[in-house]
Each structure stands twice: as structure tokens, then as C-alpha cells.
Symmetry: D3
Subunit: 323 residues, 6 copies
């Protein structure tokens, strides 16, 4: 049966450096109705307040995703045997006009959502998650497991700008897209602009597991807490690569030392298996700062880890849904 | 007399790697009235349609300008003996909001202009020249010697966006800030989006000396033509580092092969000596793409070349003006 | 009529960093019969005797080709208005087995040739030109304008190996694929293994214009000589990026200082306009040594220059051929 | 009250890439009497026996310190609310003459010390700590918590040279500046020139906690031991970035694999809270070897961690001292 | 007595950047009979299926080995006091012809083996271990402790190629060179081409300790298991740098995130002390991908760790063997 | 006869990346009496006033010299057929003590000179030429053709330091080692510390051909002038890589834009054929700033160009000298 599903190019036949770099070497699709999971890029960093470059993220993550193979090493399962996955290309963007860009991205995601496909996107800076939420969470707020060095719940920048990569989740809560009670942020750390930086998150009920707490309680306890918070309702996973220490992911706009290892991040993602997942993203891979390309490889591998757990969730739901 | 003027730190006493990296190791000033020439940064690249990064230009050009000494090797003159020059810091910007950024930049430049100082700015992408013009050319249109691989007279991007780093000079002509008949563009080259790309420039009377023509006629004839066009009226010099071949200036957003050498660029700037210069800029140094830092050094050196000719012009006018 | 032909993505609508990086942002094709000119990659460097890496050339040249626009700046013409051009993907290769790789490449090129499409390929090391010749010049030997620092007419390596990137044109002459009397090599330079290095080329009648001679006689005389040699018969253009000075093209396996500028190379390619061109390639772009990516940009731009002259030739022949 | 103290530039108003890169974006001061804690650079690496470059450390640490915010994430406190902190610029140096350099540095530090300010310096190679000690510990020997891969208690180099970055703490003990019984070295590791390398340290009573022991006993036990050794007497903290694994801090002159993570280093510094701290430094950031700039970011962040604990100590002493 | 043995250059006399970069700054030898342990390079990566470059590994590991000192920090012993160690240069290779290369390498190793010297080699890609085994394990199969992200027991590539860097240990088992029952692979991880990827290893009895298991059971338990498996019989240690996380060793052909730290790797090697060691290697250091050179330093340091345990083993056997 | 002379390793047998990187892959010698021309490194940059790193120059120039072949492309001659050439290793240095370093270097060069060998050295910063002169020009002053962006005839730095890389030729004239009347400096350019910077050179009669003059008069006239000045008396050639534009040689301590191309430099060196050459050097290759390694390749190639003309001169003198 699995042969009916799109498969990555076989590296035993076509070397990894050959061929067009689609995500995971999968076929490219234009019609989201042909896939159950839509891999897509959102090449836009217009919300970046300091070091831009994440606009180039989708291209380099696609490039390095040629190194990823088909089967997950722990489960022994391939997402491509479970569901139809394809590369839907990039969302339309506007590098010059922030509000227009948010609309274009939302429109693209809405068409994917309308077609019944689950989006797995690669940013772009973290503001791109907001139009994704607008596309998929209009009906009712969703939960989120959020990996990041930063809470991204700030309010205003440079006078009165409400939209930057430091504000998406405040806006998402305000817009009723994100249920703060079902939101957990893991890996938060780094110096603060003010002691009140996390006031909003705390007031609305977002659970912050700082890097310090994570280092203290470990992967297992963190996972128990995260799963308790999001429960069985629809949940999104947002993975900002700056949750990782810059040793592991230097190519990002706002690096903070003292972060997580990739192994810990993998263990955390794997531990989310079985949740009711309705989308995920990997954001803030900024190739111009990614000397050597390792961060793009990290992004591609985390995308695969996310794909594996989302694919199981999609397949499960498909089984439960009468056609 | 020269000792009354601000001087760079002496590298025979303080090594070049020491001290705060102001432009040319000059003192920093907050009040433009204290200088005749204001060196300033415009750290903004919100008009960039492809590879951002020029927002980091002023910082790195300041950094590499520590390698520049006081005296011009050909004239044997020091601009710091002729006029008061200082580092006025960076224009305020807004990396998130294009229109707000243009206003902030214009405001800062207007205050410099009002104080009687001549601006010598380091971008930023080329759109920053537009608010500079708005600040200094409101009264009557100015002439320009423009070094660039691109004419930057396009019209609209991504739908209907009139402001990008590909449009400043079309806007400047439309707004009556730039006199197209007194405008010469040197070094234009590279593939075109359409055969009509230069129609606007030609229709309004801008003289384009393509790289091909420049290679054909050489430095001297180019200079004669440029001087003929701008004449003795107030003239601005805008130097986009992508006029140089990427071998000489790789750290830029829109590199085009087949460009000029730095020696040719120096000869051209030196040949503008004696013009009636009212401002100049160096733009599109994009440090994230500047492996090795050579482009920032090029930017700093070209800034010094411009400073030398502008200083002479400012000093000349000061002599001619009864106080 | 031109609208019937495949066109690159419009950068005024889709920014250059977005979308899959096909050559020139053209549509991808699987069937060579759908195009008149087939852009293709040959990602293989198994003939490399020192620094490998050209296997990654096609991917990075595709990547940087997003910066190239539609219309040639000197002629004002677009190749996409003249002929059907598309990205045919990569030739199949075998990074482990040299002889098998040569066969696979030849097979892919033969299918393109059989379909009536003209190949414009991106290597790969220079040995890839040999299987291209085997595919397109079996019937009668072709002429060649060859840009390179090296003559590539050596005989044996590491004992008795006849096939390396230093031998393709000796083999091509021996196999009757290349007419040495109609072959000109431009830019040859660099220290020699032995004073007899060029004996073979001279004996069979290949005309070598060394870098020293080129520097002496200039572009125009070089072009006259090249055109005289190849005449109006079918001619191939092979462009090894190491003909350029390493300042312009550092990302290559066998750099030799004292080379050509990109501007000179562009002038030379443009001067081949009107020849009877039946194929071309750009080889030896080695991304692992291409710090900053400039060499891939050079490769992409030279590919566009070649495309423009080949497109005219193909269009001319199409006009002359009764359907 | 806190508003009376110097504050960093607000990144919500002025983007991080704008403005002169002082340490932490603080105001620059010339008179040390105006601050309680003097941030300063010591741009000198004349004691380096292998890979020089730390002379450029202060500039790049200043540059990356633009990414640090005001408030410590664990304590929720800002050092800038507790004490007056400013950037005092760079110590005078002499890159050509070692003994003269040591004198110049000592003089600058002595003036800071005389003004009652506590120095927090950024090297430079580790030999710069010796003239700091000569300036602040002449009256009686001080204690030290020393983070490093190397004990830096060697004796002679290249014949009979007593001063290199491998000898400062032997000299400091010999000169009665450093109390070896109140000195603990943490993270020592790497191959030794001879089995007797640590004889001096052991004989004078320095406590070495090797990386192996640290890995064994962990952060808490290490902190207990360190605090026991230095007690409540005046203590200096010297942080050589090579205590970190090169994955976290590649840009240093003498990298040793198998080092600490930044998170461990942060936990260790944080655990020194409450000690009687009279100065600190971050040394051996060598930008020419710091591909990507991460080591400078690490240096800036560790400087902030040190600033936070030193500020508390300075504020405590100020409270206890009748004015 | 130790003075009779070859010693590294003394860095207190000759700075590390001076002199020819032999392994560990040891004397070079041509006759293997003059040493007990032969350090050698195998500069060949013809078995690489994706990113080549390990051919440059020996040169850069030699280069960075100048940073390694004489004495092990934990044992306080120097291998150069225990046995005669020297740099035997590089094995002859053929970058163009895989089978010829395997023969040349085997021949060189056979001559070392015949001379009674134990080989400690630096690759090259992992296929180089196969000809080493052919040279030293013809008489009876040996055991192996294998550090790697990949099992390297695949079967066929690109049609029917039996020899790549993904197949050496399958071939070694088939050829009776490697005893699978005495083989343990540590650190295996990363996505799989198929769920059956490890079937061969499991069927022949190779013990795989995945990265996940290692993270779970820790260094001590892993060592107990490894020592139990290989026992006291002749054992080889093969260290592929990709067992390390790319943060620690980015310069390799097939990086996999989620790997080991260098400290863990050092602890593991140190824990093999006392085994009956008959050879070792460090492979897959690929300098073209090693931005900053850290991976070569890691390779050099791991080579030293291996040298220390192999030297003890060689010295022990020498004591037990009547001369 | 040539077979009696030392020859480079043959790259047709041993690939360029294999083997120890001696200069030009020549045999290493300890006794200078065994060679007529001694290639040597002087790994020392203690005279550097800004960006150090040239201490690593000899190692990287040796490394890249593996790419140079045996025979000069223009003359068709091999220096290894004319004279005995070998790699004599590195001069002893002291990175900590300037005066001691100058003595050590002089001593090493004196032993080479005493043995009758002609030194061809690779620096190191330009101060290393002073001890070379002290070793070879004690008896009477020599002439010099000096390629450089800087005259290097400054007087005092950082107070009263007479020895830096900006002073060697003032000292050499003062010490009677260098005949200023027979000295020509080519390529001088860049901003000056003071208009009097070249006063000393002019007063003692050194002929400066600035970059501007060189660009004006060309290679041939420059050569005529240079040959006229130095005449037939003993002459040294000193090649500072910063004479080249940073596009061609970025890896140097004091880059100045607007420099020479490598082709021009090669033409100039080739044009010195037939002079009475008694030594030469290539200095200021600074690998830490040499992203991509091109500058080391330039250094190695220019060393070969120098070797070819020096070898002819040495061979000529040998013919004229009765044995």
C-alpha cells in the first residue's frame, strides 16, 4: 500500500547532491488536495528586529534535507508509508510590505487547510506562525508546544509596531487563535529587556519551562508537563532553532547561549508522539549567519522529527474518520 | 590652524584595533552644528528585495575605517585639515515599517542639513538615498553622479510597492528632488528584467554609461562626460558598492559580475574633484555576505575618497561665503 | 508568440529567494522533446585528481541562477523569447565508479540529443565533457572554443588511468569526436608538469592562446583568431571557471593565479555570437571551496551568456530548417 | 532611583545593529570616578605563544554585546539598577613591546582602581590579568576563581621569557598578588607538556578542579568547593573562554576539546553570587579564529553574567560602607 | 631510557606554528621497522557517496596535531616514553580508481604490519579501514570497538557497487577479517534508508549501542558492554568523527545531529585502556567542510587519545614477549 | 644531469593532497650546504602593528605550494633542472621577544649565507626582511626591487619603538645594508599618516613608483625603470602580498584597495629575469585573514616565480665562477 504514497528519491540510486532540492527529496505538488501533509516554505523575515536572513531558510533547509533518509531510527517507521507527503513549494510573500506579506501567507495556508492538508512549514522568522494560525485556528483556539529561547509575547516595537518576530504569540492569544492555557514554552532563556517581559505570558496562563528549569528537571518531566498542558485537543508544535545552543544552531537571528542540545530537542519531539497534532513549523534558520550549513541540517532533521510525529497523528485521525 | 579641527586617533599611539570604532576614528558628535561634514550611518535595508544585510553596513564600515589614515596619497592633503568632520552616529530607523523608516531618516538628515552640515552617509540599501534627497533637495533638484550596477529607476514591486532599493531615483525624479538632466549613472550592467528597464531613465534624460561603454571609453572620457553633465551646480555622489566587481566587493545584496575594479572607482572619484558637492553616500555594503570583511574595507576607503573631494568642495564654498 | 515559450519566474512577483532553484527559475521538464535547449546538471567529479567538490556544482549554480534576469544587457534580447528552454534536471551519475558514470552521463545526453535538444550543461569536473561529446559528436568531429587555465590534454595518471579531468580533450581527439584543427583553447596558463605538456595539443593542431598571449593581443584579436579557427561548422563552447583568476572564481579545484576577469570572459563569449553552436558547458565550479558563493554566481552568469548565444544559433537553424 | 544610573540603549527604540558598539550599549566614560564598575577592553595579545588574535577581542565582544539585554533571566535583576556601570574604553597598549604594554595596562587599571571603580575587563590574552592584579592587589594578595582549560602557571618560554599567556598566575603568586591558598582553577584539561606541569600550582596550594573532576562531581559540588576556598575575602573571577568546549567557543588561541558547555559556565558564574568580588575578566576571545562570531557572543554574555554578580557585590559593599 | 625514543618538537622552544606539520610534531620515518607504532595518513575518499573531502584529512589533522602536547592529562603518562612512535607518511592512493586504491593502501599497511609496527591511521573516508583490515587481519578475524553514527554495513550502491564508505564492515565480516561477535558499534543514529538497515549487523551478531541507548545507559555501562564483547583478544578501534555531534565535528561528509560530545568520546576511549589493541584509526575528517578547523583538532586529539591506549598495549605486549 | 638535483614529488604519482607539505613538495634538508637555493619559512609577526597572523604564513604557503608544478609556463624551464633547491625548514623565532627573534632569524640566515646558499624565504611580517639583510648584506649594501603597498620606511611607533613591519627599510638604509639609490618600490598606495610619510625615502634616494604611476605607465616602463635603478649589482627582491589588490590577496595584515592584479605581478617578476639576484622573499601572507586560502596560493605561486628568476641567476653565477 505504501507504494501508492509519494516517496523520497532513493540515495542508493541518485546521490544526495543530485536533483532538485525539494524538502526530503519528495515530489513537488501544486495542489494541496493531493497530500495529507504539506511541507512548505515561508521565505519571509520582515518581522525581524535585528539580524535578517531567515527569508533564505526554506531554500537551505530544502538543500540540506537531501541528507535525511526515509525511516525514523527509533520507531523504525517511515512517515511516507503512513500518509501522503509532498513539497507544496513556498508561500507567496512580500519582502517590502509586512501587512501584505501576512495576508499572502495566510491565504496560501488557508488554501492548504481548506484542502484538508496539514501544514508543516519552514520559516522565515517567527512572525510567520501568526498567519499560519490565522489560517488554521480561526474556528477555535489551538494548543501549542513551543520550543524557543524567547517567549515571543512582547507587545510593541519601534514606537507602535504590533507585528514583529517578538510578538506573534501575544497577538495569537489576543486574536483568539491560541489557547494560552494549552500553551507550553520550553527552553526560554537569555537576558530580558525588563523584569516584566513574561508578565503577559504568565497573566494569560502560558506555562513557561525555562532553560534553567529544563536543565533541572530533565526531558522526561518536561514531557509529562507539556503533555499534561496540551492534552488531547488539537495542538501545534512550533520549533524555533534558537532553542538550541548556538554551538548547535549558530545560523539564527537572535542566538542565546546556554541552550539545548540537538539530542535533547530530538528526545523532546519524540516524546510528543501520540498528541493530536494539526501542524508544526521550524523557524528562524538564517543561512547568512549559518557558517558551514549546520543549522540548515539541524532544521531539516527537526523537520523530519516533526514530520514523523505529525504523520502518525494524521494517519490516526484518518483511521478514525469514516470516509 | 588645523589643530582646531577634529582629528582621527593616531595609529602610531593607539593601535588600529583599539578604541571605539567611529568612522575614521574621529570624535563622535551629537550636535551637527559642530561639524561641517557629518559622517553618519543609515542602518536600514527595508527596501531590499532579495538579500538583506545592509542594515549592518554602518557598523562594519566604521569597524574597517580604523585602517584608513589621515592624508590622501595623491593630493597629499588631509580633509581633517580643511574642514570640521565628525561621526554623527546613526540615523534613527525602523526595521519593521518602511514608511516610518523613511520619515525617521529624513528627519535626521533634515536636522543635519538645517545645521549647515554636509551629509556623508553609509547605508543601508540604496533606498536610503531617497530620504536623504528629501532632506537636502526640497528647494530645488540636485544633480548626481551615480556609481552602480543598476539604474534603480524601476517602478513597482510585488504588486504595487513604489519604494524598494530598485526605485529610489525614479521616485526622486518624480518628486522633483533629482534633476535627471544633471544625472549620470556609471557602471550599469547585468541582465535585465525586460528590455524596457531603462526606458524611464532614457525618457527623463538620465545619462547611462554602461559598464560596457565604460570599459570601452575608459576613465578619462567617462569623467569628461560626467563633469559635463553635472556641471557646476550642486551635485550629490552616490556610490553603490555593487558597481564594483564581486571579486572586489562580494558583500552586497545584488552582486553582478563583470564590474569595475577598486582602482578604477578610485580614479573616477578622484576625477570628480572640484565639483560643487553637497553630499555623498556609500550604500549596499552587506556584512552578512562579506566573507573576510573586504567589502567593508572597500566601503570605508571609498568613503574616505568621497570625504576628500567633498571636504575640498565644502572648504571652497566656505571661503567664498562671507560669514 | 514568445508567450508560448517557458519563462523564468518573475522576480517582481516572487522574490529571488523563494521557490525551487531550477536553472534560471525556469520550469522543470522530464521530456527533452519539449525543449530546444536543455539546461542540465552533471553532478560528478570522479575525474578530479586533487580537490573534489564540483559534484555539488549544479546545485549551487542553480541556486545562484535565481539572481539572473531574462534579458541580455547588450543585445536587449531574451533567449526565452527565441527558443524553448527548460531545466532537464541532472544526468544520472555514479560517484563510486568512473566508467559506469561516463556511461550513465553519455546515455542521458544521448537521449537529449536524440530528442533534438541542444545541451547546455553545468558540471561537474571537466571530464564530464567527454561523455557529452560521445553523445553528440559520434557522427563527425566537432569544433570547440575552450576557455580554461589548462589544456586538459594530458595522457595518463596514477599509473595507467586514461580518464581524469586532465585528459578529456586528448581522449576526444583520439576518439574522433573533437576536430583538433577546429579547436582553440583560450587562457591556458600556470606551471607545467613538464615542458612537453602541450606537445600533444600542438601535434594534433589545437591552437592554444595562452593567458600571456591573450593579455598581449586582447579580446578582439583573440576573438578573430577563435572565429577563424572554428569557422561556420558545428562548434561547442566549454567554459572551465578556472580560466578566470581565483579572485573572481575561487571555488574551483585547480585554481591558477594570473587569470582572466569576468568582464573579459563575458566579452569573449559575447564575441562568439553568430557561430554555429551545438552545445556548451560550464564546469569545475566546486562549492566546498567557494567561500561566499561568488563562483556559483559567476557560473550562473556565464551560463546565461552561453545560453544567449546558443539560443540565437538554435533559433537561426530552426528558421533555416524546413519543418 | 535607578534612572540616575547609566542605562543601555533601548533595543525597542534603537535596533541592535545601530549605534556605536560600546559594551552593553552603555554610555562611554573617560573618567572612572563616574562609575562604580568600569567595563574596559585590554586589546593586547603580546603574550600569546601560538595563535594571536585576542587583541581584537574587545572590539568584537563590544560588537556582540549589543545582543545582551538589561535584566538577568534568573534573578530578574538588572545590574544597571544597582550600580553605575559604564564603558571606559580600552587600556593603552603596545603591540610591539611586551614590557611596555604591561606597564601601560597596569597604569590604566591603577587609575580605575584609584578612582574607586571595580574593573571588568575583556582581553586580550590571559597575560593581561597580571597587570590588572598589579594595579588592584598591591596591598594584599587576592583570591581567585579561575575558569580555564589551562593552569597558566608555567615558568619560562623560548629560552628565558617569564611573561606569556601561560605564566600569569605563577608570576602573580611570586609577586604576592595572588593568594594561592584562596585560588581555585576549574575546567583544567588537555594534554600536558610534562607530567610536572601542575607541580607549581600544587606546591603553592592552588586547588585544581580538572574538567574530569568537574564532569564527575557536577556544578553544585564544584561551587561548594570553590566558595569554600575563596571564602569571604576579596576575590577576582577570571574567565578564559577556552574553558568552554571549542564547539561553544571556537574563536580562541589554544582550544582544547572536551570542555564545558556555556550552560554549565553560566551555572557556575551564577553560583558565585554573594562572594566578595573585586574584579573580573573575560579573556582569550580571538576574533580571527571566531568563524561566525559565536565566541564573541559567548564572551559578551559571560561578561554580563559576571557583571551581574559583581554589581551585587559592589552594591552590597556600598551599602555597608559609611559614606 | 625514554630519551632513546622519538619525541615531539618542544613547543617551549619551537612555537607550534613553526616547522613541518608531521603528526604530533614527531620525526618522519620511511622504514616502519624503526617504530613500534606507525602514525600514517590514508588520504583517500573514493568511497564517499555524498560529500567528498576526507582525502584532505591527513594533512589537516597533521596540521592541527601541532597543538597536542606530550603527556596524557589523566594518566600523566606519555606514549613517547613507552614506545617508539613516528610519522610514516601517507599510504599511496589513487583518487581515480577505487580498486587500485584499495590495493595500494593494503600494500602499504602490509609492509607496516610485516615490519612489526602497529598502524594508527588517519583517513580518508571509512572505506580505508577495509584495506587496513586486509593487511593486518588476514590470519584471523579481529574484534573492533567502532565509534560511528552509521553502522557501515550496507551492501550495494548505485547499482552493484560493493565498496563504499557505507559498506566496509559488511565486506570485512564476509571476508573473514572482522569477527562480528567481537564487534561493538557505539553511537549509531540518524534516519535510516530502510527499517532493514541493521539486519545484517544483527544477523551476524554485531552489538549496536545506538546513540539513544548510550544516552540512556551512560559511559560506564557502555564501556562495560564494549569490554565484555571484545574481551582480551586482538582488537581494533575505529573512530569515525561523525559519531560526534556536528557542533563538535562539523567537518565531515555525513553529519548526523544528536551525537556525542568530545568529552564523552574521550571518556569512552580512555575506558578502553588495557584492551589488547592492534591498531586504530580516525576517519571522515573532511577539511573542505571544516569551517574553522575544529574538526581537524578533534581528529588530532582523538588520535592522541587512541595513541595513548594503543601505546600502553604495545608496551605491555613487548614486555610479555621474549625478544 | 638534472636528475642529480632534488625534484618535487610527481603529482602524476602522488596526488597533491598527499605527503608532507614541504615547499614545492621538495625534499627537506637540514644542511644548507646541500642546496644552492634555500627555501625557508620565517614564521614570525612580532613586528605587526595591527592584524597579526603572518606567523602562520610559511605553513599555509607550504600547504598551497603543493599545487605548483615543476616548469615555468613562459620560459619552459624548470628551476630544479638548473640548481639544487630544497626546503630548509623554518628559522628559529621567538613570538614573545622582538629583539631575540631578530637575532635568531639573523643567525639562521647567516648560516645559510655562510654555506653559500641563496635564501628564498616566506614570512612572516615584513620586519623579517631586516634580519635577512643583516645576514646577507653586512659586507656591502645591496639593491632591492620592492613590491608593496607601503614604503615601510617609517621611523618610530608607540612611543619609541624602532622595529615594526613599517620600518625595516629605514633601518636597513641606516645600518648600511640597503643601498637606497639602488632601491625601487613598486605599487605604493593608500592613505598616509602624514604628508611627510615618504620624506625619508625621497631624501635617501629611494625610487617610489606608486600604484597610480604604475597604472599610468604600465608594466614595461616600470620594468625599464626598475632595471635601470638596480643595475647589475647584487639585488634582492622583496614581495609583500599587499602590493596586490585585496581581491587577489585578502589574507594580509594591512590590505589596501586599488592594488595590482596577480597577472601584473607575475609580469613584473618575470621582467626581472637576468638581474643579479642574491635573495628574495614573500611576506605578509596572514592565513587567519585568508578566507578560502587564495592568498597562500598567491604566495606560493609568486614564490615559484621568484624561484625561477633567482635560479637562473644562481646558475649563471655558478657557470661564471671557477670551482
Amino acid at each position: 500500500m505504501s507504494h501508492a504514497f509519494p516517496q523520497p528519491l532513493d540515495a542508493y540510486q541518485v546521490p544526495r547532491f543530485a536533483g532538485l532540492p525539494t524538502f526530503m527529496r519528495l515530489p513537488a505538488f501544486e495542489d494541496p488536495a493531493q497530500v495529507q501533509i504539506a511541507l512548505l516554505g515561508i521565505p519571509w523575515d520582515g518581522g525581524t528586529t535585528n539580524r535578517a536572513g531567515a527569508r533564505h531558510g526554506p531554500r537551505e533547509v530544502r538543500n540540506m534535507s537531501s541528507l535525511i533518509r526515509r525511516v525514523h531510527p527509533v520507531t523504525g517507521l517511515s512517515p511516507y508509508d503512513a500518509v501522503r507527503v509532498g513539497d507544496l513549494g513556498d508561500a507567496p510573500v512580500n519582502p517590502i510590505d509586512l501587512l501584505d506579506a501576512l495576508k499572502r501567507i495566510e491565504g496560501f495556508l488557508a488554501s492548504i487547510h481548506a484542502a484538508g492538508a496539514v501544514p508543516l512549514s519552514v520559516g522565515g522568522d517567527h512572525l510567520v506562525t501568526l498567519p499560519v494560525f490565522r489560517a488554521i485556528a480561526r474556528q477555535r483556539p489551538i494548543g501549542m508546544v513551543h520550543f524557543d529561547a524567547h517567549s515571543d509575547t512582547n507587545d510593541r516595537y519601534f514606537g507602535d509596531n504590533p507585528y514583529t518576530h517578538g510578538t506573534p504569540f501575544r497577538r495569537a492569544v489576543e486574536e483568539g487563535l491560541l489557547d494560552p492555557k494549552r500553551t507550553v514554552q520550553i527552553g526560554i532563556r537569555g537576558s530580558l529587556a525588563s523584569a516584566s517581559d513574561t508578565d503577559f505570558a504568565e497573566q494569560v496562563g502560558i506555562r513557561i519551562i525555562t532553560m534553567e528549569e529544563f536543565a533541572d528537571i530533565g526531558v522526561e518531566a518536561t514531557l509529562r508537563e507539556a503533555r499534561r498542558i496540551v492534552g488531547n485537543e488539537p495542538t501545534y508544535v512550533s520549533f524555533d532553532v534558537d532553542v538550541l545552543d548556538p554551538a548547535f544552531a549558530p545560523g539564527t537571528g537572535t542566538p542565546e547561549i546556554g541552550g539545548m542540545t540537538t539530542l535533547q530537542a530530538q528526545q523532546l519531539i519524540r516524546g510528543l508522539r501520540g498528541l493530536n497534532l494539526i501542524g508544526a513549523d521550524v523557524v528562524e534558520v538564517a543561512p547568512p549567519f549559518d557558517v558551514g550549513g549546520c543549522t540548515a541540517l539541524v532544521g531539516a532533521t527537526m523537520l523530519f522529527e516533526l514530520l514523523c510525529i505529525v504523520a502518525e497523528s494524521v494517519a490516526d485521525r484518518a483511521l478514525q474518520t469514516p470516509k
